[in-house]
Structures are given as C-alpha cells and as structure tokens.
C-alpha cells in the first residue's frame, strides 16, 4: 500500500500547471476567479484552450488524452484551482463516452471531433415532468416512420438547453414491454422544427435549466445510438459515469476557501471572524468531512483503475456524501456572509456594480449559491434514490 501520489503523478501535476499557465485566456481566468458568468462564446474559447492536448477524460483514439483516472483527477483539481474550469455542455462528460462506447463508426466520426473542438454544445434530455426520480417512467415517444422517428413529448430540468446545439434524449419506442425495456437513446438537433425551449427560473434567480418540448419532431434513424429499445442500458452507463465524477471535492474546496477569505475580512463582535475558535472549529469540522470525501474519491479512482466497471462501496457513496458536503460548504459561506447576503443583485447588474465596496465581487453570488446548493441532493438521482440503490446493490437489502 502506497498512499502517496507517485513521482510520476507529481511531475504530471507540474506539467498541467505549466500547460494552464501557457494556454489559458487571461480574461476568462479573471472572470472565473471573480465568480462572473461567461458567455457561450467565452466558454467555447475556454474549452478549446483546455482541450489543446486532447479531451482530458477520453481515450486517445477518439481525440482524448488517454490519461489515467489519477491524471484526470489531478488535471481537474488544477484546472479548478487555477481557475480555468469551464464546461462546454455535457459533450465531454456524458454523451461523448456513450457515443464512443456504443455508437457506430459514422457517429463517432461525426460527433466526437465536434465535441473535441467545442463546436457542438450538447444537453441531456432525460428527466420528464411526470417521471422525476422514477426516470424510467418517461413518456416522450418516438415512432418510426421509414427513415426517421417522429418524436413527441416533453423533457424538463434540461441544463443549458438555451445554449445547446444538440440534445441527447431517452425516448419510448415500445409501449408493450416493461418500462425499462422500451427505451431508446436518440441524438436530436435542437434546431429541428418542432423543438421548443422554455426557461425554468430557479430560486437562485438564475436561468440554468429549461423545459424542452417536442412536437412532431423528425429525427433521422441514423441518430439512434446502439440498438432500438436498449437505451436504458446506455443511460445507466452514462449515469454511473456522472455519479462517479460527482463527489464535487473541488467545488467544496473552493467554497471553503472563499469562506475563509471572507472570514479574514469579517469582524464579529469586534474580532476577526477567522480568528475565533468556534468558527475555526466549524471550518475544521468541514475540513475533516471534505478530506474523508477526497480520500474516498481517490480510493474509488484507484479501484476503478484496477477493475474497470466494477462498483465498490466507496464509489457508491460519492454522489450521496458529495452533495451533503457541498451543501455544508455553501451553508458555511452563507453563515460567514451573514446579513450582507440580504441584497439580491441580478446577473445583468453584477458587472456594473462595485458596491458594497468592502466585499469581493463574488459576495453577491453567495446567497444564490446557497439556495442553488439545495438542488445538489436532488439532481442526477436524489439522495433517496442513491440510498435505495446502495441498500439494494451494495447491502443486499
């Protein structure tokens, strides 16, 4: 057992730092550091600068870097700390792996390069209003007519659909079988006639998710991934990738860091908050939770490197525990901010305001961050669903 990063890992980290230093666009870095929103064009430019050596998490044959999971972890950590993290939709993390694992040659050749050079922004069409946690209960239908499917139905909670060029969807292609068995995986050009995107405003005041309506939308049959009615299997593969990466250690670290920055500028009862023992203990408590999560994440990575595909107990708790720690970090930020979190400053005003002058600009984002953090235990399979899965799959209950 050697629990340290290897010499090779450490060298890799240095290389990543140099790479980021050389290739990141300064203006994007500055905006990220100040918590400002980026435009779609800026995100695309940022993604292209990050993808210079290939898509970090993909195999080399599909335009990826071919890095190990540990290298990917180090890259992600450095990118986040730099900060240079941008996510150009869910092409890299979600649909890309499905395409190179289950897609045909034509699909690989067409779609993968367009993700790798940040041309196509993808969004995910899984959730539906009637389904919620019961994902397989989806109702959006795709009926085959000759060389195309006709799609009718509705998706919801679709992240960044308003930016997207493409949407990958689970659709029902057979009504006569068990619900999991009649589902197919379709790639749909979001500009197709009959597709309507309508924003959902969330309680943080932002617009991140949308409803997507399909009314008699024609989709060529060559946009079917894998086999018809086998989509549930591809979706499970995708979701296990999504959950695996979802411990959110980097997000939580960054929140803790911001809380400490802010606490160093905040006076409570005439004393610097950052110096008060009870505050320091509160932070230390979170620090322990976060370290435990991080080691658990590393264990899961080590285990996954060893035997691809198998699930160990450590990985199954990443999403569950990760969302709790993320939420605790958001609460900590909020507690530090205190009454100054009261004012609401709409996104569009954020750039032009300099007030309140004693606080960093990202201060205005703190209450919305806290509000939005409540979604972390709901999206990508709620905590209740995660617990049901673990109870069944890991504990055999």
């Amino acid at each position: 057992m050697d629990l340290m990063f290897t010499e090779g890992d450490r060298t890799f980290r240095e290389e990543v730092r140099k790479f980021l230093y050389d290739s990141t666009i300064p203006e994007i870095r500055r905006k990220l550091a100040e918590g400002l929103k980026l435009s779609k064009e800026e995100i695309a430019a940022g993604a292209r600068s990050l993808y210079k050596k290939g898509v970090p998490t993909w195999p080399q044959e599909y335009g990826g870097t071919g890095w190990t999971l540990v290298q990917q972890y180090i890259f992600e950590e450095e990118v986040r700390a730099f900060p240079a993290l941008v996510k150009f939709g869910s092409g890299e993390d979600l649909v890309g792996p499905v395409i190179y694992t289950f897609g045909n040659l034509a699909q690989k050749q067409y779609y993968l390069p367009r993700i790798a050079n940040a041309t196509d922004w993808w969004c995910q069409g899984f959730s539906e209003p009637g389904a919620g946690s019961d994902l397989a209960a989806l109702k959006t239908r795709a009926v085959r007519h000759g060389d195309h499917y006709v799609v009718d139905g509705q998706k919801t909670w679709t992240s960044s659909a308003h930016y997207a060029d493409w949407i990958f969807c689970l659709v029902r292609t057979n009504l006569d079988v068990k619900k999991q068995q009649g589902i197919s995986f379709l790639l749909i050009d979001i500009k197709s006639p009959g597709v309507t995107v309508r924003p959902i405003h969330l309680i943080d005041g932002g617009h991140e998710v949308s409803e997507v309506f399909f009314d008699n939308v024609h989709v060529p049959v060559e946009n079917l991934v894998g086999e018809e009615n086998k989509g549930w299997g591809y979706a499970k593969y995708l979701l296990s990738n999504e959950r695996f990466g979802d411990a959110g250690v980097g997000v939580s670290k960054e929140r803790m860091w911001r809380a400490l920055e802010l606490a160093a500028q905040t006076y409570v009862g005439g004393e610097r908050l950052a110096d008060q023992p009870s505050f320091r203990e509160k932070v230390a408590e979170l620090d322990v939770q976060l370290k435990a999560l991080e080691i658990t994440q590393l264990r899961a990575i080590a285990n996954a490197s060893k035997q691809q595909g198998a699930q160990d107990p450590a990985s199954s708790i990443l999403k569950l525990r990760g969302s709790e720690v993320e939420q605790a970090a958001a609460e900590l930020l909020m507690a530090v901010m205190g009454p100054n979190a009261l004012p609401y400053i709409p996104d569009e005003e954020l750039g032009s305001r300099n007030e309140p002058p004693v606080l960093p600009r990202w201060a205005a984002e703190i209450a919305p961050t806290y509000f939005y953090s409540r979604a972390a235990s709901i999206y990508s399979g709620s905590s209740e669903i995660q617990k049901n899965i673990i109870a069944k799959a890991i504990l055999g209950l």
């Binding site: 205190g338 009261l342 617990k387």
Partner: protein, 400 residues
Amino acid sequence: MKFDLSEEQRLLTESVERLMLDSYGFGDRRKYGGEDPGFSEAMWERYAELGLLALPFSEEYGGFSGGPVETMIVMEAFGKSLILEPYLATVVLAGGLLRRGGNEAQKTELIPLIVNGRAKLAFAYAESQSRYDLFHVETQAKKQGTFWALSGVKTRVLHGDVADKIIVSARTAGGTRDKNGIGLFLVDVHAPGLTRRPFLTQDGLRGVEIALGNVRVDESNLIGDPEGAFPVISRVADEAVTALCAEALGCFTKMQAITLGYLKTREQFGTKIGSFQVLQHRAVDMLVELEQSRSMTLYAAMMVGEDNTIERERAVSAAKVQIGRSSKAIGHQSIQLHGGIGMTMEYSIGHYFKRVVMIDMLFGDADHHLRRLAALGGLGAVDSYRSHRTMVATNMTTAR
C-alpha cells in the same frame, strides 16, 4: 397557564386569517410583488381598516393596546401568506421606537398617521461593518446649535424606499462599539443631503442604502436621550425578533402543509410518494420542528414583555436559535421532499424557504443568538434549579 386565545384574540385571528385567505394567495403575492412599489397599497389600507396598524399602540393615540400575543397572531398569519407590506418596519420597528422612546409631541403627531395608514416609516440601524451588533454605529450625529448634523452610510434599510420618514441610529458620543453615545433621529427622506440607493432582497422585498451627507435634523426630531437610545433600540429589536419568530412560524406552518399535500398527491413508481416510509418519517421530523418552533415562539411572546433585561434577552435569543435551526431543517426538508419542482420560482415552497433564511439573518442569526444566550448563562433554569436544591439542602441540614 392558558394557551387558549381570549375571545378578542380569537376574533383578531379569524379576521386577519380571513383577509389573507381572501386576498393574499400565492398568485396575489406574485402580482403585488411584480408591480411598484413591490407590495399592495390596497392591502395596507385593509390592514388599517382592520386595526392591524393600530395594534400595539395605546388607546390615547388611536391604538388598541395590544401586546406581544396580538402581534404574534398577526405576524403568524402574515407569514403564512409571505406578505410584502412594510408592517415590521412601520409598526413593529419604527412604531416600537416611537412608543418606547418618543416624546408626547412625536407620538401625538406620528402614531395616528401610522394607525390610519397614512405614514410609512423605516428604521436605519445597520451599517456595512456592524453585522448583528446594534451598538456598532459609526454614523455620526453632531450637535450644531438647534440642529443635529448626520453623516454616514446606513445599509439594509428595509422598506426605506417607501418610507416617509426614517429613524436613524447615529453616534453622538463614545467609541465605535460603545453602547452609550447612540441617539435616534427622525429623518425626512427628502431632507437635503440624504440619498437612497434602492435594492431588492433575496426574498423579494425592497430596501435602500442611505447615504447621509451632513443631513440637518431639528432638535424636535431627536427621539429620547441623545446618548442613551441603546436600551430602547435593544428592547424594540427583541420585540422585532419575537415578531419575526411568529412570522417564521407562519411560514413553517405553510411549508409543512404544502409539503404534506405534495406527499399525498404526487405519484412516483406507481404510488403516492407519501406511502414511502422514509418520506413519512421526514414529514414527522418536520412536524416536530414545527411544534418546537411554536413552543419557542410562545415562550418569546410570553417573555418579551419582561422588564428584567437578562430574562428577556435569554428567552428571545433562545427562540431565535430555535427558529434559525428550524428554518434550515424545515426549509431543506421541504425542498428535498418536493424534488426539482421545489427549486423553481413558479412554485411557492422556495419563496418560503428564502424568506425563513432571511428571517434567520435579521437581527442576528441562530449562531449569534446562541453566543448571546451562552454569554448570558443559558436560560437560567439551571441556576434556579441549583439554587433551589442548595436552599433545600441548607434547610434540611439546619433542621437536623
């Protein structure tokens, strides 16, 4: 010991709840909030007609001499509807300062205007560095002949956008964090040198930041002792905390009811989600929080009239701790039990959540009040227990 309402209190409850039911549904609230001035002037008139604006004032000024229980009843009902009107600012805060600190002329002039709904007031107590310390005042008031000249910046002045007059706390003597040396000044919003910068709050209300550039305030607009206003401020803040506890309790009550309703109707996996044992137990946890919050709100209402400052502060802080903890517990739970829909602006539960989070941050969050309570030696039950036991022991030893 009676937890029942008196006949008058029962009538008050019924009338305010009826008004809310008729005119303050979630859709009404969205409408009121979406138009200037961000609340309903018509509702404000209704409050005046019903006597709600007159509640805490004594009868000689047109009031009803109501106490903390009456305020609790109204605030709880207001919480259920998430009202937007400046009741706390005008009646509880500014009204409280006038009641407890104002002179005869000030009360005679202003209280009838509040009671009739013809004047709205606000209280500018916060500064950007003051956090929850009401005595941390850097805004200066300097005596110049028969005037006072006020300079400084007051932040988070809730409803200062619609106020006709604003009561400003300012330092007349002493150091930045002294409890002595603070005065209260009644300032006209149109006074030369006063500028207001409006903002929205996270929970859909409105407020202003005020910059005071040598604003002249006549001696007649000084409220009480120019250096001794802090006890009045502190006492009114305790009353405001008690009122906010009741408002939060109203919010909790609705959050619990809405969530319970959702559990009973929403179907997943082919069944009502309320049939899942895990969700049932969570709903029970919410009920427990709600009932504990109700108990502590009652306790605060029972103790906030107490003249013994320590006893009053202990009880009020204890209640605010409970309410703050429950805000998180009930807020998080109710959103989680709803799933995604609970995160949307179109649905009501998130608005309740944001309101109770903001209530936690008004006049001291749970951690702040826990510190205050700990510094005051806790609720004191232990002291009396110990002294009782010691006394008995002494008696018995003597007797032997």
